[in-house]
């Protein structure tokens, strides 16, 4: 399959090299091959991938494996760390001019989402920073581009400066700044026409707009679905304009978004915002870590590993895993699990973070409402030791007693019993315990 996540890809490799104390060169080679493919499938530019893999190799070879991790997980962790490092920290702040108006210019290829993002960003900053924006329609080429921005301005009740499509964008931009000063707008957003980075005339036009407006920010708007060409685009726009950041659009799609990494790598400027839809409120600050996981296609498996590392005693976890595998898992174990897992944050989040968990049938029914977890604990504590280890003996009268003892209803008890049963079933699926053949736990997480 073309769009497997890295975690799926790595399963095989991880299985082969688990349990070793040190990460060997051969392990790393095999792992990095998979990482390379995953990154390429995610559209990260191949040159960027190459540099990246070299760095991972350097760091990984010969490293001690942390107690709670397998060598495979260890390498993933290094990959994630490197990736997050490359992506940089969260930087959604805007440079405001000490002398208003602040000027923000949006540039990029055709159809990237500049006009929509102009509206979104103005909306966002008006709210977040209490500003009074002026939108500038400087795309005189695309049919109805001005009308498009005017419509957005109307929806936002924000004025749009236009001089029609007969004046040059440079003139329009210059006049717009004048107008902003007159009308006391403290921030101006210039929506420029889409252009190819190799279109010399039009790139020159952007340089001129920059010269006459002296923008505080120049954002390159990049479609998250962009492929290998993202580096050429980002490089050219950056060379000509010295962009101050990028905005990644259409991230509400199912693309991995490797272009984010390419753009960051070649321009060195931060990705500041992401577009998450067509509506005018669908703009969010960029989260580098989330993006890193997305590119790798592994849910938040890494944060999961980190959490597990911090919270779960590895030895105990091993014991638990054995119990799960032999299906001798009881309510007592369940209670203990709840305690451990509880320290790691909301259960649903954990489930959501598990790669592949979404695909498992039965998971939905077995899902535990985080808020009801206290109730669950109370019910289990009201069971006798025998009931805890063999829930099948819990008759109607026992249920009544348990409900009374835990201050819940019989329905609550019934629900938990069913959930427990479902959960065991699900665990069985996880363990691949079918037909007596034992497969390794595909997730291999310490608490499972």
């Amino acid at each position: 399959m073309a769009f497997e996540g890295l975690s799926d890809r790595l399963q095989e490799t991880i299985k082969k090299i688990r349990g070793k104390g040190k990460v060997s060169e051969a392990d790393v080679k095999q792992m990095t091959r998979e990482v390379r493919l995953a990154l390429l499938e995610a559209d990260v530019n191949f040159k960027v991938v190459k540099d990246f893999i070299n760095r991972v190799k350097e760091r990984a070879i010969g490293q001690e494996v942390l107690k709670s991790l397998t060598p495979g997980q260890q390498v993933i962790k290094i990959v994630q760390d490197e990736l997050a490092g490359l992506m940089g920290g969260e930087q959604s702040k805007i440079q405001f001019s000490p002398k208003p108006p602040t000027v923000i210019m949006l540039v990029g290829l055709q159809g990237a989402g500049k006009t929509t993002t102009t509206g979104k960003l103005a909306n966002y900053i008006r709210k977040a920073n209490n500003k009074n924006p002026l939108l500038v329609a400087a795309d005189v080429y695309r049919p109805a581009a001005i009308k498009q921005l005017q419509t957005l301005g109307g929806q936002l009740s924000m004025p749009v400066f236009t001089m029609g499509d007969k004046e040059s964008p440079v003139t329009i931009a210059k006049e717009a700044i004048k107008k902003a000063k007159e009308d006391h707008h403290d921030i101006v957003f210039i929506d420029t026409a889409g252009r190819l980075h190799v279109d010399d005339t039009l790139m020159e036009e952007l340089e001129e707009i920059k010269a006459v407006t002296d923008p505080n920010e120049i954002f390159l708007v990049v479609d998250a679905m962009t492929g290998q060409d993202a580096v050429n685009v980002a490089e050219s726009f950056n060379e000509r304009l010295n962009i101050t950041g990028a905005i990644l659009t259409k991230l509400d799609g199912d693309t991995r978004g490797g272009a984010a990494l390419s753009v960051k790598a070649v321009t060195g400027t931060p990705i500041k915002f992401v577009g998450m839809g067509e509506k005018l409120d669908a703009l969010e600050p960029f989260h580098p870590e989330r993006m890193a996981s997305r590119i790798l296609g592994m849910g938040d498996v890494l944060s999961l590993i980190e959490k597990a590392q911090a919270n779960v005693d590895a030895e105990k976890a091993k014991e638990m895993e054995k119990k799960l595998r032999t299906m001798s898992f009881t309510f007592d174990d369940f209670l203990e699990q709840i305690g451990q897992v509880r320290n790691m944050g909301p259960l649903e989040d954990l489930l959501a973070m598990m790669p592949g968990a979404g695909k498992l049938k039965g998971l939905k029914d077995a899902k535990i409402d985080d808020k009801k977890i206290g109730q669950i604990e109370a019910i289990i504590r009201s069971m006798t030791p025998l009931e805890k280890s063999d829930p099948d003996i819990i008759s109607a009268s026992r249920k009544k007693r348990i409900a009374l003892g835990s201050g819940t209803t019989i329905q609550d008890v019934n629900r938990l019993l069913k959930q427990f049963k479902d959960m065991k079933k699900m665990m069985k699926q996880f363990m691949g315990n079918t037909k007596g053949k034992k497969r390794k736990n595909p997730f291999n997480l310490p608490f499972m």
Binding site: F46, Q110, H197, V198, T255
Partner: protein, 333 residues
């Protein structure tokens, strides 16, 4: 027969202007891909692992897609082995043969399908900003120049200014545009357009639709509904469901092709923005994995910047540097 010669013969039969136009638009594409292959061939005299690794990179950098590339490389390795090819110069022919073999398997499929007895209806779909409306504008002009009467349906009722945009294109090529208010039901617009097109007996009705990302279930359902309305009102229609893909798009284009096919039964692809530096290698992957033919390509924002896709020309465009080199070496002999 030598593959280059075969292509060359075919090309010389074509009108110069079309080829030139195509070559002009594809210049950058061709240069970067073909010159890379050429550099490779010059750098490596021997066919070895290293050579294949770098070839792999050249193709990956063209967005062909890792899976397809790996398969192709395997194929090439096999060819090299069975034909006992040792020199990279020789392998060059094989590279072209294999690549174009993938694209040219059903050449006749690259033509648009028209209804031989009655009105022809095209439905144009795709994700946001790929060039659907622009392509429709160009296509309307092209068909009109061919003597057909054309009508457009402003089926993008969502994006701000989308209706006006299509109207501008309608004016440019002098064709009627049927529209409703922004925010209205696209199926209703398309229905009205169908009725109008039937009563005015136009030859071709082209339906624009709003861009939508393929993972949005509601929006994909909406599109299915539009298609159903067309099929119900005009049995046998739509005669083409054209998926517009931006050549700049990476691997997600495959997912787009899959999902849009599932929802609307895509019959052909329009590959836009080939006038940039994006290589459009995704065409290979899509053809390979989904067997959807490319029918049109976009080479700019102007009204004439639309060409019918010809795989031979496409390959010629990609590899014309190789062809000319071939000629040179022929001359020297």
């Amino acid at each position: 027969m030598n593959f280059f010669k075969k292509i060359k013969n075919k090309i010389t039969g074509q009108t110069e202007s079309v080829t030139e136009k195509f070559k002009g638009g594809l210049t950058k594409t061709r240069q970067s891909f073909a010159s890379k292959v050429n550099n490779l061939v010059k750098r490596y005299r021997k066919v070895d692992e290293e050579f294949f690794e770098e070839l792999e990179e050249v193709m990956i950098s063209s967005d062909v897609g890792v899976n397809t590339v790996l398969e192709l490389i395997d194929q090439l390795k096999d060819e090299a082995r069975t034909r006992n090819i040792k020199e990279t110069e020789e392998l060059k022919d094989v590279i072209v043969e294999v690549l174009s073999g993938m694209l040219t398997k059903k050449d006749e499929e690259n033509e648009l399908t028209f209804n031989p007895n009655g009105m022809t209806i095209f439905l144009v779909v795709g994700v946001n900003g790929v060039g659907k409306t622009t392509t429709i504008g160009k296509l309307a002009h092209k068909l009109k120049q061919e003597g057909k009467t054309v009508m457009l349906a402003a089926g993008d009722t969502f994006r701000a200014g989308a209706i006006d945009q299509l109207e501008v294109w309608g004016e440019r090529s002098g064709v009627n545009v049927i529209k409703h208010q922004e925010g209205s039901d696209p199926a209703a617009v398309v229905y009205d357009a169908l009725v109008a097109a039937k009563s005015r007996k136009v030859d071709v009705l082209i339906c624009d639709t709003a861009g939508r990302l393929q993972n949005k279930v509601n929006l994909m359902n909406e599109l299915e509904k539009v298609k159903r309305v067309i099929a119900r009102e005009y049995p046998g229609a739509p005669h083409e469901v054209l998926l517009v893909l931006d050549a700049t798009t990476g691997q997600n284009a495959l997912s787009q092709a899959k999902q849009f096919s599932q929802a609307t039964g895509v019959t052909g692809i329009v590959l836009t923005k080939l006038d940039g530096t994006a290589k459009g290698g995704i065409v290979l992957a899509i053809r390979h994995e989904l067997d959807i033919p490319v029918k049109l390509i976009g080479l700019g924002e102007g009204i004439n910047d639309l060409q019918t896709f010809d795989s031979d020309q496409f390959v010629y465009g990609l590899f014309s540097d190789l062809f000319s080199e071939e000629t040179e070496s022929d001359d020297h002999e």
